[in-house]
Amino acid sequence: MPYHLFKCSECIPERKKHAVIKGHGETLADALPLGYLNTIPGTISERGCAYCGAKHVIGTPMKDVIHMSHGPVGCTYDTWQTKRYISDNDNFQLKYTYATDMKEKHIVFGAEKLLKQNIIEAFRAFPNIKRMTIYQTCASALIGDDINAVAQEVMEEMPGVDIFVCNSPGFGGPSQSGGHHKINIAWIKQKVGTVEPKITSDYVINYVGEYNIQGDQEVMLDYFKRMGIQVLSSFTGNGSYDDLRAMHRAHLNVLECARSAEYICNELRVKYGTPRLDIDGFGFEPLAASLRKVGLFFGIEDRAQAIIAEETARWKPELDWYKERLKGKKVCLWPGGSKLWHWAHAIHEEMGVEVVSVYTKFGHQGDMEKGISRCEEGALAIDDPNELEGLEAMEMLKPDIIFTGKRPGEVAKKIRVPYLNAHAYHNGPWKGFEGWVRFARDIYNAIYSPLHQLSYLDISKDEIPTDKGFLTQRMLSDANLSEEIVSSSNLREYTGKYDIISDLRGKTYPDFPAPKQLSAV
């Protein structure tokens, strides 16, 4: 039977349809976990709310904006800084969090006055910031405060400021995913088309569904700029509010995360005729294919090929050093929504690990289709898992490492499984050629941490060896490798810098001679 009911969930039989083991010869037409449904009462889900999805995943990476929550302070505070989406304006959007601090009396008497006062106060406190997004929460939605009207009033009173209202209260969907969609559609409807950009290249794209986790967006932007492509806007990592109002002028929408952001591209396609091209910045082969596709689209494939050749020559020997040492290691790939399919095949092919399980907290069935397709047979796929199921799966599969969020990650540590933070990364960026090597290095460091090895010993019953001195990662990882690999002069450990993003910010790019005009774009 392909569907899998966890022992711990026998008392919640509906859970059975949410887990599948990929069997021999079976296809997506035989079994597919349910997805994007309300969490079943009694199962302790790891999901976030739709407000959190809208604000903390999609909205807040926008860098030059005051992000104001209209609700109790807990909504914003408890979800603040859960992701490391940095920006090149000194991380303004990460450093502060704002809330109107609704209390019981506002629930009774309304909080519109309070909201207005907070908006004005915030703009005065940061006179250089003229843009704001207001996020509805459960409390302000339930009492029916008219946030749009208040925002309009302030915009009339304070010329020069612009406010975007996102009505995505916590209960507005089964998970954070509902919030992703709400804010995408709201942005298209309210803001796109309200600013005219300066076009400086014949090749103009929006980079959509990219959140600049530890600098991912800046790494990818570097490739695009080296190809002479103008990136009109980034939705939303390191993205600027006004640039994103001008999305309608791009020639192509390059879509990175088709979970959080595909609807924005679909809407832009319908409304403005801008085509959508899905790409994948993780892994040498997928990234090379992605750059090539963007190059082909604009008739500048040679520029893409030059970058691919240069980057591959520089970084492949380092990736392969790790691959030799990670071969056969078992991974549970347990991210939020899209990385199960971004990574499942690429880490297997390029780092040699075995993906024994994939899960998604808030993905839709489409994400499971992609994820399951990209795993090998025998993998266990779980939708919206609860903590006990996670524990049972780890006991059953005995992974060497899991990639997941902080909460399930800490649970894994308790049973001595090392984890990497799939949402915020450890030593990212992980996108790009060099980034992919940094990911491999983080996996290696986690699996072969000598400190972690000590945790396998239980001082209450195990004998503690006293004849061993210290251990290093190399001693552990190279113990069973052939001499040829250990002393190979073709392979080497990561040689990049600690911080690879600062240099990109000051970089200048070549001017390309006038390109041939494409009639299509």
Partner: protein, 117 residues
């Protein structure tokens, strides 16, 4: 070519697409139909050295995926070189039927027919 061999080759191409591509999994059935038809038709045309329409933005998007797919197929499956154009057409039609089944007609994804996002 025997039917079994043709089936086995189609299965290999399906596996390639499922492991390496994303275009077959757009979120709605109508979109998947367009994607599968657009990209696999152009891939067949490239493999059969027929002219390929790539001037409109939409065609261009299908075409770039088709170019990469055709290259990937040729690289990974040398047996393609030994097939004549008529055989390649049968192969690619079989591939499209199978991908349509797995991603649309046989798909268990309940969201495929949801009218709104």
């Amino acid at each position: 070519m025997t039917e079994d061999l043709m089936k086995e080759r189609i299965a290999q191409l399906v596996d390639y697409i499922m492991k390496k591509c994303l275009w077959q999994f757009h979120s709605r059935a109508w979109d998947r139909e367009r994607q599968n038809a657009g990209i696999l038709t152009k891939t067949m045309q490239i493999l059969c050295e027929e002219p390929v329409e790539n001037q409109t933005p939409a065609d261009r998007c299908y075409w770039v995926d088709a170019v990469c797919l055709a290259d990937g197929f040729r690289q990974k499956y040398p047996w393609l070189d030994s097939m004549d154009k008529a055989e390649i057409k049968i192969l690619m039609q079989g591939l499209k039927d199978r991908i349509d089944f797995l991603t649309i007609t046989g798909s268990l994804n309940e969201e495929l027919t949801v009218p709104l996002y």
